[in-house]
């Protein structure tokens, strides 16, 4: 129990830290082309008016099910996909308004770790070239210096520097993910976007990587945006959690607040659907949602969750609930969050 208190104190301390990255009204619409002339007949609103911020040194978890726009959000922030609208302020400067040239300078500060440990490493490049790719692009150091740095950072992520000349296929999934981490870390970044960084790994390896990310955060004072679909992993690593549904943010809160007092019905359903590895716990209160997630090309009017929501009232199908701060640092987008609180 003492441990728990300590943790809560930790996250409190972090609330005083300054905001490192602020995302405002971010939108990314993908056109749907059809017809004889391939004209745009509609839009897939993958990310639809999303706003949140990340404090320096914290880990912000971003959860949601497939197609909710969490990966697109991560990629848009780094301008790997050009956004439709919105702004991303990093240390006060809008990344989305920058010229590509200037953005490339900022890229060293903002790095990314990818999901697929097989697809994200070029199979025809040696480990040393993979890890040094960013240094080379940013014209940091000469060949010899870069080589030394690569070896140093391989050691930092728990890989033997003897492997510098190997190819990715000679490594296991966990080791490949370490290569991906070294590639990001060597740029000396402030913020790392971890896009499903452990979901492709076996559970025993997943723990190794999560611990490594944790250690590196402490050592280098890193800030993480941790995107994942696995609630348990997100809960373990994050300080605060953002929940997305169908391109929208439905709730933001610190992890304890979110797990103990979810104020959005979707969050609650998500938590209750999450299987607990303990056969003695009977889940009598399990909420099983009806139906599928609607298509982001044609989202429901009003609150996007209303067709599957057990609390839905007529107003939900007409009016879109705004994301409001209902408690300090707890944001929710639901008309009936008070009712939810009573249920909890």
């Amino acid at each position: 129990m003492r441990k728990l208190e300590k943790l809560q104190n930790d996250s409190k301390a972090k609330t005083d830290e300054k905001v490192l990255l602020e995302v405002k009204n971010l939108k990314k619409y993908f056109p749907i082309k059809a017809g004889v002339f391939k004209r745009t007949v509609g839009w897939v609103k993958a990310v639809d008016d999303v706003s949140f911020f990340i404090r320096k040194g914290e880990t912000l978890g971003l959860v949601g099910e497939s197609g909710c726009g969490k990966t697109t959000t991560g990629r848009t922030i780094l301008r790997l996909i050009e956004p439709t609208a919105g702004s991303v302020h990093y240390n006060g400067e809008d990344l989305l308004a920058m010229s590509k040239r200037k953005m490339n300078k900022y890229r060293t500060k903002l790095q990314m770790i990818f999901q697929d440990p097989y697809g994200s490493l070029d199979p025809r490049m040696r480990v040393k070239d993979i890890i040094a790719e960013g240094l080379k692009a940013a014209h940091i150091g000469n060949r010899k210096e870069r080589y030394e740095m690569v070896k140093e950072y391989m050691e930092k992520v728990g890989l033997s520097p003897l492997y510098v000349n190997r190819f990715p296929h000679e490594f296991s999934g966990g080791q490949r993910q370490r290569i991906g981490i070294a590639r990001a870390l060597i740029m000396n970044p402030e913020l790392i976007v971890c896009d499903e960084a452990v979901s492709a790994l076996d559970v025993s390896i997943q723990a190794q990587i999560l611990n490594l990310l944790d250690d590196l955060q402490k050592e280098f004072n890193l800030t993480y945006l941790f995107i994942a679909h696995d609630l348990n992993v997100v809960k373990h690593i994050s300080d605060r959690i953002v929940v997305m549904y169908l391109g929208k943010i439905v709730e933001i809160a610190s992890k304890h607040e979110l797990f103990n007092n979810p104020l959005h019905p979707y969050t609650k359903a998500l938590l209750s659907a999450n299987p607990i590895p303990d056969p003695t716990i009977e889940r009598k209160d399990r909420i099983i949602l009806q139906g599928d997630v609607p298509s982001p090309a044609n989202p429901p009017k009003g609150c996007r969750f209303h067709p599957r929501c057990w609390l839905a009232k007529p107003v939900c199908s007409e009016e879109e609930p705004p994301l409001v701060e209902v408690r300090p640092d707890h944001y929710v987008a639901c008309h009936f969050w008070e009712e939810m609180e009573k249920q909890n």
């Binding site: 990818f114 697809g119 070029d122 490049m125 590639r183």
Partner: protein, 294 residues
């Protein structure tokens, strides 16, 4: 490099691929050693087949002409040896140029997409609208026959296959996360193409090149056979076969096998040469299954 060693090792396991490799190496050796194997009587014009007399009737193999002679007394052995060089010359020139054009068009089309892709692919479609041989015939007719014209004509109507192949494989490679990772690290577009995309699309091209090393000389030979390719007397397999045409169907009712050597030797050379490359390409296709490469 290590990848190539692995491919080579796998090639050595299968008897058919060993056969292919050996055949190709045999022809490479013949091409290189041509001046030794068949010493040209006039060193300035080695591709001109020497004529031993002027009789129109082919002569059977003898001590002097070990494969016999064609009509007009061209030495078949000499023609086959130097014809190997012709075949390689054609293959390397045509495939090399077609590949360069194809790489250029295919990569640009796939990498930039949008209207660039649309326009380039429509142009490709137009070139593809000709059966290959017809396109070549049009050009050869307009420019006049000759090996050089044939080569250019082949290039003009051969690059589209490569362009489409490369476009397809670049599109596939482009989807990989390592390309996105390269962009996240700030790697410039040109370097992403040369470092990430092209090296990873190389294997399907390799297979195609191997197959085409068989196809191109065969097509050129076909044109020679039609009288549209190499000039009379030029060492070329297709021409040797066409010389036999009037002698294997004995109109005079004589022994149909009398002139067997006129068709047998040149045909064998063509078939074995094509077989070698095809076996090699086919084995490469089996080995280089993209799913097994990662």
């Amino acid at each position: 490099m290590e990848g190539f060693v692995k491919v080579l090792k796998k090639l050595m396991r299968n008897p058919t691929s060993i056969a292919g490799l050996l055949l190709v190496l045999l022809f490479v050796a013949i091409a290189i050693l041509a001046p030794v194997l068949a010493k040209p009587p006039y060193p300035d014009t080695p591709y001109q087949m020497p004529q031993n007399g002027w009789s129109s009737v082919p002569q059977p193999p003898s001590h002097e002409d070990i494969f016999g002679t064609t009509e007009g007394q061209y030495d078949i052995y000499y023609g086959i040896i130097w014809g190997t060089r012709t075949a390689f010359k054609l293959g390397i020139f045509v495939i090399g140029l077609a590949l360069i054009i194809g790489l250029f068009v295919g990569t640009i089309s796939a990498y930039f997409g949008g209207w660039v892709d649309e326009v380039l692919m429509r142009v490709t479609d137009i070139f593809l609208a000709f059966p290959f041989l017809v396109g070549v015939i049009v050009i050869v007719t307009m420019l006049g026959p000759g090996l050089n014209h044939v080569m250019w004509a082949l290039v003009i109507f051969y690059w589209m296959g490569y362009a489409r192949l490369i476009r397809g494989s670049v599109l596939e490679v482009k989807e990989n996360d390592y390309v996105m990772a390269g962009r996240a690290l700030g790697t410039p577009g040109a370097r992403i193409i040369t470092r990430h995309i092209l090296p990873n699309s190389i294997y399907p091209i390799l297979i195609q090149v191997s197959m085409d090393m068989a196809t191109i000389p065969l097509t050129a030979a076909a044109l020679s056979f039609l009288g549209l390719g190499a000039p009379v007397g030029y060492a070329d397999w297709g021409q040797l076969v066409s010389f036999s045409r009037n002698w294997i169907i004995s109109s005079s009712g004589g022994n149909p096998f009398a002139y067997w050597y006129t068709i047998t030797y040149p045909s064998l050379a063509i078939i074995l040469y094509a077989m070698g490359w095809n076996l090699l390409g086919d084995s490469l296709r089996d080995i280089l299954d993209p799913r097994m490469l990662i």
